[in-house]
Symmetry: C2
Subunit: 332 residues, 2 copies
DNA sequence: ACGTTCTCAGCAATCGATTTCAATAGACGC
DNA sequence: GCGTCTATTGAAATCGATTGCTGAGAACGT
């Protein structure tokens, strides 16, 4: 395996010069040509470990997400990869399974310096995680809730407002028994969407009824189906706002099993605008929280922060956008 | 940032001894205790780059897949991560976008030695890729088609047999105008599933009719919907075998738009058994190609190969399994 | 013609571990 | 009591790059 000194010897220069050429540092055109040619000739590839050891830069960033199988996060992966690739960075992906311990482990692992920065998409920032964020060994950008102390760059969606918009949309269509199918309420999105739902009810002058609120065990299809079944067993809502699209797809399945038509009997609104939501039957009205954009911004923030670790931390918000489709009852 | 020599100094031993303790090499219990304690006290974390540089091991493996958004691959990610984590390896994920150039780049990048091995899930092994596989700088296990020269460990599904089974299943239910909704035919799965479909027709004594075959531009939902529309515009099949579940979900949408009932008018069978296939309406009959198991085996093969680079290359096959649900017309 | 500045290349230190090799000390057999 | 063997340990080399410093020579100004 050729090393830098192989190249240097062949080009008849010192390793220092060879290194400079390969790193694009100004050199005499003649040496530049000789080194380039020699490197080409022996098929030189720099050793990443040696380079990292000396320069303290890895050229890699990591993205830690709760669940690879969730389309929201795969969308984010796409955006981040785009930014990273365009700027010559390699991207590492991690699936934490939404386990706080796993997220903690990711943050602690930054000490190993195997990446130069981390984008952490978290459903719930525990106090331990916040503490670890403050002393992280490399820059971190959080996608999700903001930390109180504000000492970490953060990109967040305004899902509270989005949830409110969804409820107001349903109300404007004449629905007045609007249920909430939420995900776990100990999570940031769970809390925000519940508040948004209540905001929405209030601004429409609707009474809040706790039996119209059901909580699924996870933000996924099957839990959504089960929670919807429980809800339907005790109530007869004329609309359901689901805290995300996967839950809504589960609810769709439960409604069908119960012989209820969407949107005639029950209007349905989801949240996230995952690709699949346009292809269900009926197609799903949803609130786009700008996942792709948030991820892109997070990646850009991270790379900037890596370039210049100092400077104000930033909190960027992305505004929600209602995407009206068939499931909420608006004619095609 | 504490280094090994910090620990050694504190424990009053040489760095060599400290290194031994931290690597679990037999040492005097007294030194062991002192070093462990010192490491604990200063919060020592080994520098990955230095370790890799010297020992030529990174403790990382990579998984390159065509598309993170495809549930088949996210399933694989889960299995691989499980195996990797259990054995103390870190996993890197890459989405190649099914671009041969990206897959090539992944293989070439192995020379940087930033991982100790690669699992490559490829839809189509071009001659260039096969050539690069032969001279890869680190062990590679391929999930997908086998290389002719057989000098790379491979795990593959028998989707040809699976496709045949699907067709025979449809035939046994009395269907005799069985269409094929295939993905791109320049891919390994595209070819295999087409052959399996033809096998199936033959073994049922059915005539092959080219107008019953439609090819989508990609193995995804939306292309599936469009291809199904084209098919329905010229033919009236009583069953459609789709080359994967995403295509089948697209087809489901097209059939619904065309006012055709599944399974009464048209029976539908997919392939891959993705989680979503159990939750469509009607639920989707499909052929399980053992994605999770293939990925698990691939991970195990890779780790074994890393331990002992020599030895026969292996070709492992996983057998398909028909999963009968509602869409093929069997009563619930 | 001479001092000053600038460009470029090389020497050598350095990053933080692992690993080889030799030295030491104690255990043991006879 | 002496030679041999074994268990530990430390010194130093090594992995393959990057980078600070130094000096040689060219370019330039006066």
């Amino acid at each position: 395996m050729p090393t830098l000194s192989t190249v240097a010897r062949l080009a008849n220069v010192s390793v220092a010069s060879a290194s400079r050429v390969l790193n694009g540092i100004r050199t005499n055109p003649a040496t530049l040509a000789r080194v380039t040619e020699a490197a080409e000739a022996v098929g030189y590839v720099p050793n990443q470990a040696a380079r990292t050891l000396r320069s303290r830069r890895t050229g890699q960033i990591a993205f830690a997400m709760p669940d690879v199988a969730n389309p929201v996060y795969t969308t984010m992966v796409g955006s981040i990869q785009e930014v990273a690739r365009a700027r010559g960075w390699r991207l590492m992906l991690h699936s934490t399974g939404a386990e706080p311990e796993d997220e903690l482990a990711m943050l602690r692992d930054l000490k190993h310096r195997y990446v130069d920065g981390l984008i952490l998409a978290s459903l719930h920032l525990t106090p331990e995680i916040v503490a670890e964020l403050a002393r992280a060994a490399a820059p971190v950008v959080v996608i999700g809730g903001a930390t109180k102390d504000g000492c970490t760059d953060t990109v967040r969606a305004n899902s509270r407002k989005g949830a409110g918009d969804a409820v107001r949309h349903l109300c404007a269509l004449g629905r007045d028994r609007i249920a909430l199918l939420n995900g776990p309420t100990h999570t940031t999105p769970g809390v925000a969407r519940r508040l948004g739902y209540l905001d929405g009810l209030r601004s429409c002058g609707l009474e809040r009824r706790d039996s119209l609120i059901e909580v699924a065990t996870d933000f996924m299809i099957e839990p959504g189906r089960r929670a919807a079944e429980l809800l339907l067993a005790r109530e007869r809502p004329d609309a359901i706002f689901c805290a995300n699209d996967l839950l809504a797809i589960g609810a769709l399945s439960a409604l069908r099993d119960a012989g209820l038509d969407v949107p005639t009997d029950v209007a349905l609104v989801g949240m996230d605008n995952i690709p699949l939501s346009a292809l269900t039957w009926p197609s799903l009205t949803t609130v786009d929280l700008g996942s792709a954009e948030r991820a892109r911004i997070a990646a850009e923030l991270l790379l900037e922060r890596i370039e210049s670790p100092e400077g104000e931390t930033r909190l960027v918000g992305v505004e929600p956008r209602l995407v009206v489709r068939a499931s909420s009852g608006v004619p095609a």
